[in-house]
Amino acid sequence: MTAFILRRSLQSIVVLFIMSLIVFVGVNLVGDPVDMLINPEADQAEIDRVIRDLGLDRPVSEQYWYFVLNAFQGDLGRSFIFGEPALKLIVQRMPATMELALVSLLMAVVFGIPLGIYAGLKPTSKISKTIMAGSILGFSMPTFWVGIILIMFFSVHLGWLPSTGRGDVATYFGVTSSAFTLDGLSHIFLPAFNLALFKLSSVIRLARAGTREVILQDYIKFARAKGLAESRVVRIHLLKNIMIPVITIIGLEFGSLIAFSTVTETVFAWPGMGKLIIDSIYNLDRPVVVAYLMIIVVIFVMLNLIVDILYSVLDPRVRIKGVS
């Protein structure tokens, strides 16, 4: 088990390095920041000074080396636009994104799993067919478009919920979140639901596929043969078995939730990392883009690692060595 974790961790570090290289080299090809930031009227001396300050005159390999060195010390460059350390900017906005992603995940799971199980247990019922049709729809609709529709309907038309921004925050047990206040909840509901919708359809499909497979297994029949009530068969025997693949996929999907938050945050003007990165790409704010991508890669690699470990923990067949 420890050897397994060690091996996966090593692999993750290798991936990190490779991705950092790709990110750095790639981003360095973006436009010419010199033109972006320096007054065209400035004289050559001024231009040279700025170039030297930002380190743009060194060879690329040297720039990369300093980049890595600084990265270890937590310095990922300074934003061209804001003048602040890129890392600081991102970290400031991370809680908002995490909050959004977590609430979305919760929504997707809490609604998705029961719906999927139902569709799996009674595949021919009208409700199930509606659920499945809905899931195709949810899967097809681009996230940004759903967001627009939601805003149009619930904000502009009905005026029930606000369409932009984050609400008030409150702190419980050392965690500050807008989900703890009523105002915050009203602000987070639409964007979280928007983000969740896409995931909802894959959770439903997963739960349904898992249910259809598990319900045919002998141990389900055996459980019934023991005289167990059907509710227990579903609640304990079925659920525990489909949870394993569902949870692992959900864990991986959490990463894509963070990625898709770029879209939702833009649509709903939610002050998270996602909006920051879109604006930064637009404005050619290289350090911020690089910093964001690096952090995302780290998050992803860690997520994959956690999910791998989680899988081995959840499935006793992997955790405890068997006999045969």
Binding site: Q217, D218, Y219, K221, F222, A223, R224, A225, K226, G227, L228, A229, R232, I236, H237, K240, N241, I244, D315, P316, R317, I320, G322, V323, S324
Partner: protein, 330 residues
């Protein structure tokens, strides 16, 4: 020799049909037999003969598109086929228990053994405490010959070998001291060396606890060793039944004769193995007349026109064949 006791299970003309897109499959087509208290009855037949479905029908576990459409299943005075699923739940695992074929797949891989045993007890006795249920589980594990039962309770199914898992299944079946255990090919998936152990232990257990046992198998040799009486099934019908000793010594139905002949030990060395020629007809397309006619050495014109009825003989013997020697009829 066991006397004919009051039957605890009386199946009369059971018909379980499957309504598939390709047609109606008569998996069980008029099966009748009885099991007395504490009696061990074997139900023998090849794959597709309907023997497993018979077992599931008694338990009320026939999956759609299958349905019991006729006949009665009388268990200690109650007709099980008329009960609702909720009412059947009260019997399953309680008064009638079932053991399945493949012990690998029967136990839920992500739940501990004790969970799977305690829930079987608590499903039928809401008042029992978890600790008491655990103690009973532990004792039953000991009963089936599993050592260090306390540790074993905390284990997961994959930590057991195949034979041990089947013993656990047997233990689960015995937890609530049922009147009848239906065992569907319980030793087929086990190693040959373990098979013998499990068979003899089950026999001993049932005798000691006076539990009736319906042993469903394709292997006549197994049944010969353990059962008091045997029913031979073919294409959804029982073609012969009676006391084991009588049937082995004097098989009357051509199919039973074929089965006896094809057992390797019955054959002589060097001579080609006897087989029954032909194949089981497709259950969707049974011929008019006797289902065995295309493989039978004695088939005549009568066999192709009508299905034979049951001929009752001495010693609770029944045969379904036109060609049964006339002199032995009751």
């Amino acid at each position: 020799m066991r006397q004919a006791l009051d039957p605890i299970l009386k199946i009369n003309n059971l018909q379980t049909h499957f309504f598939t897109k390709a047609g109606i499959l008569k998996a069980v087509d008029g099966v009748s037999f009885e099991i007395g208290a504490g009696e061990i009855v074997g139900l023998v037949g090849e794959s597709g003969s309907g023997k497993s479905i018979t077992g599931f029908s008694v338990m009320g576990l026939v999956d759609p598109p299958g349905k019991i459409i006729d006949g009665s299943i009388n268990f200690k005075g109650q007709d099980l086929s008329a009960l609702s699923n909720n009412e059947m739940q009260g019997f399953r695992g309680n008064r009638i228990a079932m053991i399945f074929q493949d012990p690998m797949m029967t136990l839920n891989p992500v739940l501990r053994i004790e969970t799977q045993m305690i829930e079987a007890i608590q499903a039928h006795d809401g008042s029992i405490s978890r600790e008491d249920a655990r103690i009973r589980s532990r004792d039953t594990l000991g009963l089936v010959g599993i050592s260090s039962p306390d540790e074993r309770l905390r284990a997961y199914p994959h930590q057991f070998s195949g034979g041990m898992r089947q013993r656990v299944s047997i233990a689960i079946a015995m937890l609530n001291r049922p009147d009848l255990i239906i065992a569907d090919e319980p030793t087929t998936a086990l190693d040959v060396t373990i098979q013998g152990q499990v068979i003899s232990e089950m026999q001993k257990l049932c005798r000691e606890t006076q539990t009736a046992l319906l042993w469903i198998t394709h292997d006549l040799a197994v049944v010969a060793g353990i059962a008091d009486r045997v029913c031979v099934m073919y294409a959804g019908r029982i073609v012969e039944q009676g006391l084991v000793a009588n049937i082995i010594a004097n098989p009357m139905h051509p199919y039973t004769q074929g089965l006896m002949g094809s057992v390797p030990s019955q054959n002589r060395r060097g001579k080609p193995l006897q087989q029954i020629n032909g194949m089981v007809p497709s259950m969707l397309n049974l011929p008019a007349g006797c289902a065995f006619q295309n493989r039978c050495n004695y088939a005549n014109e009568k066999c192709s026109k009508m299905q034979p009825d049951i001929t009752q003989l001495a010693d609770r013997r029944q045969v379904r064949c036109f060609n049964v020697p006339a002199g032995q009829q009751v």
